[in-house]
């Protein structure tokens, strides 16, 4: 049970819920500043102990807000950690709107925990297999989608891979692009070129950003100068 978050849910809703007014958001932010002055570490509200049974207790806005709270200014020590992958997966499935899924994925892959684990891949020039990447959500989900597609060729998993791939491209941080490159690698060789994600990526990236194309494994010919 994420007790702290539950206790603070009403307070956090004032800053996290987009249907609140700007005045309500600002009043909520000022109240949090006051709490911080009195020693309450609001960054500790990250739901690292959350269980899948907690998902329906809080709104998606509050969960995303809590994840984003870990992005503290550089002089603040990182204290919060990501929740278990089961919780994040459940949260992702509970988002009924793809913008909600985009924002949730962004909150996870730009969480300092993830950024730290992917720091070593920040400057890579070629894709790395998903299996060799840090075990951060959505790595295993992408692996399961890719293997499901390999064995069953379902349009359902094809659509899910395409959507999550698009989300990772849009986020465009080193962690997101490394996961995307691994996803492209994981797609079956036989059908890769027909996959809607690869087709979109080829249209979007190749010819515009060759460095990114290579990083995603989309170059058709080896780079003679690499």
């Amino acid at each position: 049970m994420i007790v702290d978050l539950l206790l603070a849910a009403d307070l956090i809703d004032a800053v996290a819920n987009p249907s609140r007014t700007i005045e309500e958001h600002e009043a909520g932010a000022a109240r949090l500043a006051t709490l911080a002055i009195h020693g309450v570490g609001t960054e500790l509200l990250a739901p690292e102990d959350a269980k899948t049974t907690d998902i329906d207790l809080l709104s998606g806005h509050v969960c995303r807000w809590a994840l984003n709270e870990a992005k503290q200014t550089s002089d603040r020590e990182l204290k919060s950690h990501l929740p278990q992958q089961e919780f994040l997966q459940g949260l992702f499935f509970s988002e009924t709107d793809r913008i909600g899924r985009l924002l949730l994925t962004e909150a996870i892959v730009t969480h300092p925990d993830t950024e730290q684990k992917f720091e070593q891949f920040a400057e890579i020039r070629n894709p790395v297999p998903l299996e060799q990447l840090p075990n951060v959500w959505p790595r295993d989900y992408l692996l399961s989608l890719s293997s499901a597609e390999e064995s069953e060729g379902t349009s359902h998993s094809e659509r899910d891979v395409a959507e999550l791939g698009m989300i990772l491209l849009q986020i465009a941080t080193p962690a997101a692009l490394t996961l995307l490159g691994g996803t492209v690698m994981a797609l079956s060789h036989r059908r890769r070129e027909e996959h809607p994600l690869v087709q979109f990526l080829r249209t979007f990236v190749v010819g515009q950003d060759e460095g990114l194309a290579r990083r995603l494994g989309l170059r058709s010919e080896p780079d003679r100068f690499a």
Partner: protein, 262 residues
């Protein structure tokens, strides 16, 4: 950690970089030093609700103790995304519509001189931002969603992170006939975390925030309009911006509080 990729053509990246490089922080120096001399501290104001202003009172903050910090705004309703929305001292009451308590903060001049500023007042720069957003891979989703505020916040944050923009200057998008003029300059100021993402929580950029002005007025939205109505006044003619800037600067320096009853 590298910044977010811009995901647009090199020519558009260059045009946006060119737009940023043309804006020097020094051109805002007169606004930040308003009410003082050229060598005085660079000051900005953020207005907050009065019920949370007590801890910023200069006579309550313990001498030598930790300074309170302003919280970075994460409201999806704000135009330019996550950041601290302030006004330079030259527009001393322009954002009072968001709260009656004006907290004055100081900008580090060495850091601020190196700011990358996006001047969103200029139509040319507005066009560049629109071109960038249309070129984003998920633009169709971001446009078709019912969560327009969230989509807007995502795009603005992504743009600012991709181009490492420390400050966006823009004209007010909310109005009050007496306090907020259409040609005032507002600023959305970025705090960064160690991974070069926009930070949340307490601001480190806005230093030594102190309560310096209390406005004797209440504001309320006019329906769902962008305008904010004054509930009490005006009771008298508003002092000039220059006179108010000078009074607020003196108050911030001397640890007192200006009470504005206009």
């Amino acid at each position: 950690m590298p910044y977010r990729l811009a995901l647009v053509s090199p020519s558009l990246v260059n045009a946006i970089e060119d737009g940023i490089s043309k804006v020097a922080a020094s051109q805002f120096e007169p606004q930040w030093t308003a009410g003082g001399k050229k060598t005085d501290p660079w000051l900005v104001i953020k207005y907050i609700p009065t019920k949370y202003c007590r801890d910023f009172r200069p006579n309550i903050i313990p001498a030598g103790g930790p300074s309170p910090r302003l919280r970075i705004s994460d409201s999806p309703g704000f135009t330019w995304g996550t950041g601290n929305y302030v006004v330079p001292l030259a527009y001393p009451v322009s954002t009072a519509i968001y709260g009656r308590a004006g907290v004055v903060a100081t900008l580090d001049q060495n850091q601020t001189r190196r700011w990358r500023i996006f001047d969103a007042r200029l139509p040319a720069n507005q066009n560049l931002y629109v071109q960038w957003s249309i070129a984003q891979p998920a633009f169709r989703w971001l446009t078709l969603t019912c969560h327009a505020n969230l989509a807007n916040q995502f795009l603005r944050n992504a743009f600012r992170e991709a181009f490492r923009i420390d400050c966006v200057v823009f004209h007010p998008d909310q109005r009050n006939a007496y306090y907020t003029k259409t040609n005032d300059d507002w600023m959305c100021i970025s705090d960064w975390n160690r991974y070069n993402r926009l930070a949340r929580g307490s601001s480190a950029v806005l230093q030594t925030p102190r309560l310096a002005i209390l406005v004797s007025e209440e504001f309320t939205p006019i329906g769902a309009d962008v305008r904010r109505r004054t509930m009490i006044g005006p009771l008298s003619a508003m002092p000039t911006n220059a006179a108010l800037a000078s009074a607020i600067r003196n108050a911030a320096t001397s640890g007192t509080i200006v009470e504005l009853t206009a």
